[in-house]
Structures are given as C-alpha cells and as structure tokens.
C-alpha cells in the first residue's frame, strides 16, 4: 500500500472511531473519551519510541522527559498567552502578544519543535555511545531536565501549574466539548505518528536504520551515514513524544514535574513496542492498544497501581516467550517452515 493510500485509510478509520466514540458517549458519558485519549497518547508515545528504539536499536529511557517538554512548552505558552502584557510589553517580542493565546494545534506543533530540538541536542551528545551507555545517558538527561523544571518558577516549579480547560472548542461551524476536541487531536496525532513511522520503515532511511540496528560498523562500511541517520531518528522520535505531551496540560488541568515526568510514560513507551513488536509500525500500535486498554480496565475495576504491575508481568512474559512481540508471533504463525539451505555444489 502506498504511503498516501495508507494515510487516507488511517484517516477513514480514525473518523469511524471518532464517530463511534461520539455515539457511545450518549450512553457512557465522557469516560470513554478520557480513557481513549490516554490509549491514543500511548499509541503516539510508543510509535515515537520505536523509531529510535525499534528501528535503530537505541533504547531511550528518557521518553517521559520528551513528553514533559511538550507539556511544559504548552504550560509556558499558555501562561504567556494568559497575560501577554505582563511578560512581553516593552520587549522586542511585544508584537508576538497579538498572536496569543495559541490554538491547540499550534501548541502541539511548537511542543514538537522544542522536543525535536532537544532530541537532536541529546542525540548529538550521546549517540556516540552504544547499548547500555546510551540508555543510561538518556535516563540522566531526563533527570537533568526534571531538575531544571522543578527549579523553573515561571512554569510553577515543584508546585506545579494549573491550566483551566475551556468548555468547548470551535472547529469551523462545529462546536465540540473540549474532551472531544482533545480526543480528536490525539487521534489525528496518532494517525500522523503511524504514517511517519510506516513511511520511514519503507524508505531508504528505514533500511539504513535497520542496518544500524543489525550491525553498526557493517552499516557504516556499507556507506550508511550512521550518525546522521541516528540524529534524524532521535529528533523525530523526540518531536513526536513532545507532540504527545503538548495537549497533556489541557487534559489533566494541573501539571507538576512528578506527573509530567512520570514513570508510567517512560515504562509504557518501552513496554508497548516490546510487547507489540519493534520491527514494524504495527507493533507499537498493537502494544499500545492492548496494554493501554488493559491498564484502563485495571484502573476502573481494580486499582490504578495495578497498571504498572500488568506492564511488568506482560513485559517479562513476552521477553521470554515471544521476544519479537505480538506481531512477531503472528508473522511466525503465517510464515511457512523453512529448511536450512546449502549452496549448490
């Protein structure tokens, strides 16, 4: 399937899911939209992680930091938009006040740009490291960024910041409740992330990233510009994670470092692709839908703390039984058995 055909099909599926969500809302209220938003957010995060971790083989433990950068970009710009005269008057940036407050799509775009730039910088500093050393460096970066935010008073520091969610959003003549708007935005973002991931996977870049994952010195010897590709993957992965985090303040209404940099984001971003399968765009989607839904069910039927327990148990189980994830299991089941071949004498 060509890339643009895939995009159209994905948009049709997204439209159908959104219509279904609006229909069941009359029966179940807004809960399904709130739960669905979280699952879709994990689809974006897992897909973003997989671009670097799955396609390229570089494990990033700092996903929560990129997510938080997106969230805090929104917090900073929201605060600026709430009182532009206070922060921008008598400065060279006074004219920017006329553009504020920014719309949610603009905030998502800016969150992605800031996170992408941080991803590029992190990549530049750390991509000469490999394996566990790279993973530790990403973890260290998350700690450094969280410390900066905790000490940044403008965005609330350790106290956190309140964002008052509007009641409704207007899209042309249509008025949507804000949670519907957030759900729709995250749905479109998930489609975009999947389209980006699939396009990369089937492109020259995807082949280069797979070569790096399989054997980096051999890839370099085959002419693959490994550092450049890794930087592109890090920036793209970071940008998508930041985009996933940008609407977060409007979703929760109160952002503090502990929840924006929360462990569940870092763990789920890794676990979902691992459980779904890391070598294809469908893996993170399947992993996020399965694991995200299970976590939401556990939260309402048992307790929210059980969600990470589910992740841990499933992750250990899949690493042992099916290291290529659910997609790998399906591929193995569909593939005919092969015999070891010998070259003709």
């Amino acid at each position: 399937m060509r890339s643009w055909v895939f995009l159209i099909v994905a948009l049709i599926v997204a439209a159908a899911v959104f219509a279904a969500a609006l229909l069941v809302r009359t029966t179940y209220g807004d809960y399904l939209l709130f739960a669905g938003y979280v699952v879709l957010q994990y689809v974006v995060l897992a897909t973003a992680w997989n671009i670097l971790g799955g396609y390229c083989g570089y494990v990033n433990f700092g996903s929560a930091a990129f997510f938080a950068i997106g969230a805090y970009t929104t917090v900073a710009l929201h605060k600026l938009g709430a009182n532009p005269g206070r922060y921008l008057s008598d400065t060279p940036f006074e004219v920017l006040g006329t553009l504020l407050p920014l719309s949610l799509p603009t905030l998502i775009l800016l969150g992605g740009i800031v996170s992408g730039l941080v991803g590029f910088g992190m990549g530049y500093l750390t991509l000469r490291l490999r394996g566990v050393f790279f993973a530790i460096a990403t973890l260290a970066m998350a700690v450094v960024l969280q410390t900066i935010v905790v000490n940044w008073d403008y965005v609330g520091g350790s106290r956190g910041a309140y964002i008052i969610r509007p009641d409704a959003a207007e899209i042309g003549p249509v008025s949507l409740a804000y949670i519907q708007y957030l759900f729709l935005a995250m749905m479109l973002l998930a489609v975009f992330a999947l389209w980006v991931a699939r396009t990369i996977e089937r492109s020259r870049m995807g082949l280069g990233l797979a070569a790096i994952r399989d054997d980096e010195p051999a890839a370099e010897a085959s002419g693959v510009p490994t550092l450049r590709l890794k930087l592109a993957a890090t920036a793209l992965s970071g940008a998508l994670m930041g985009m996933a985090g940008a609407p977060f303040p409007y979703y929760v209404g109160y952002v503090e470092p502990a929840n924006a940099f929360g462990l569940p984001y870092a763990v789920n971003a890794i676990a979902m692709p691992m459980i779904g399968g890391t070598t294809t765009w469908a893996g993170p989607l399947v992993g996020a839908l399965v694991l995200g839904s299970l976590q939401q069910i556990a939260t309402v039927t048992f307790r929210s703390e059980a969600s990470l327990l589910i992740v841990g148990v499933l992750l250990v189980g899949f690493v042992i039984v099916a290291p290529r994830g659910i997609v790998g299991l399906v591929e193995n089941w569909r593939r005919p058995k092969k015999k070891k071949l010998k070259s003709p004498q």
Binding site: R204, L207, E220, A221, G223, T279, P344
Partner: protein, 249 residues
C-alpha cells in the same frame, strides 16, 4: 611498491596505539591501481588494525592515508566507502534481520546513489541485486535470511555486499577463514574475477598461504605492528626475516 601503475592507496608513517600497546608502528604501504596485494602476518601482527585504520573504523594517531587522490585522515568510514573503498569483515557481519537481497540493497542505496546522484527505480535496484548475487552464486537465496546461509555463502554475501558499493579497492579480511579446500578455491576464483573482470584492486588478508600465493602479485608482511617485508611473493616467503618471524623456521 612493485607495480608500474599509479598508487590508488598510499599509507605513510601510520601508527596506532591502544594504551601502551603499539599495534602499528610507522607503516608505509602503497597499492597500485588494479593490483592484487596479499597482506600476511601472524595473529596480533596488526593486519586488521591496519585495515580498520585505512577504512576509518579506527582513527590512526600519526601518519596519513591517501586514497585515489583524497586525504582520508579523520573521514568517517561511510565517506571512505562513498569514495570507493570497501571491505569485508574477518567474521561475517550480515544484516541479520534482512533478506540476502536487502543486505545488497543497503550499499546500493547508500553508496552508488550517493556517488552518482541517480535515483534508482525499484526495477534497477532489483536487477543490480540479482546481478551481484549471481556474481557470487547466491541468486537462488535472494529472499532468504542470512541466518539460513552456510559459512561459505555467508562469506560470499559479505563480498557481494562490499562489491555492491562499486569499489575501486576491496579489502578482503580473512574471507576464507574456516572454509574447506574447495570453498577456499571458490573464493580465490571470485576475488580473481573481481580483479580481472571488474577492475577492482584487491588487498587480501589471509592465513591460508596456498590461497595467498596463488592470488597475490605482491606480498607485504606485518609482524608486531611493523612491516618487515614487501615484494614479489616468491622473494618474500624466502626472506630470512619473514621465515624466522612468520613461518617459524
């Protein structure tokens, strides 16, 4: 350099240390265009380190490497490949998650296209893949995983992948290690075809003296990071220094 042609590779005063250990000490080596050079030496003599320094996997501390008129010092390995310098690895390093054909597509997409600026269609790429696999006798295994290959086929895939980048110079690092007598002969014939038919200059690093002697026009010998002999194969193997240091007689 015992060749009439202009050197395609010039190594001058190259040294490499690992901590206090001197792996290469002031190595000079010229390789002529179209030449077949055998590089021999006991284990630990610095052959692979020299290859790694020439190909950019390791950076040398002193000395210079010139390839086809380009100074290579500091250039990353992929840029050296784009210039026409290819290598195979001592232990085969296939891209294990890909098919055999995709292993060949990587250098085709990243080197040939980079160098020529041509955007190859899928058909062109596919045709070239088949040609390259046919050259090494692996065309019937194109859609298989490298994990399914025998040792000799893995070696051939390694060479086909190196040749896919359309190199001017190919460095074959122990491409025959662990192979049977007939398989060694297969690889020697393949390297000879690459040299004669494709015009590729070849440096063969090998312990199998029968293969080295039948293949090489010239022989260089490394011992303990120093080049102790360089000349015609018959003269070099009778050189008393080589005999005592390398052949142990």
């Amino acid at each position: 350099m015992n060749t009439a042609s202009a050197p395609i590779l010039q190594v001058k005063g190259l040294s490499k240390r690992f901590g206090g250990f001197v792996a290469l000490d002031d190595i000079d080596l010229d390789v002529g265009q179209g030449e077949r050079l055998g590089l021999i030496g006991p284990n630990g003599s610095g052959k692979s380190t020299l290859v790694n320094c020439i190909c950019g996997t390791l950076q040398n501390e002193t000395g210079t490497v010139h390839f086809n008129g380009h100074a290579l010092n500091g250039a990353p390995a992929h840029k050296r490949t784009h210039l026409g310098l290819a290598r195979s690895f001592q232990l085969p390093r296939p891209f294990a998650s890909m098919t055999v054909a995709d292993n060949i597509r990587v250098p085709l997409l990243y080197t040939v296209r980079q160098r020529t600026g041509l955007v190859h269609s899928h058909i062109d790429l596919g045709r070239r893949c088949v040609e390259l696999l046919a050259l090494v006798g692996l065309e019937h295994l194109a859609e298989r995983s490298p994990r399914d290959l025998s040792q000799v086929d893995m070696r051939k895939l390694e060479l086909a992948r190196a040749v896919a980048s359309e190199p001017k110079l190919l460095i074959a690092d122990e491409a025959m290690a662990g192979l049977s007598h007939s398989e060694v002969e297969d690889i020697v014939q393949l390297l000879l075809r690459l040299n004669k038919d494709e015009g590729i200059t070849v440096i063969l690093i090998e312990h199998i003296m029968r293969a080295v002697m039948s293949f090489s026009q010239r022989l260089a010998v490394l011992v303990s990071g120093r080049k102790i002999a360089d000349g015609k194969p018959d003269e070099v193997v009778n050189n008393p220094q080589v005999v005592s240091a390398y052949l142990g007689q």
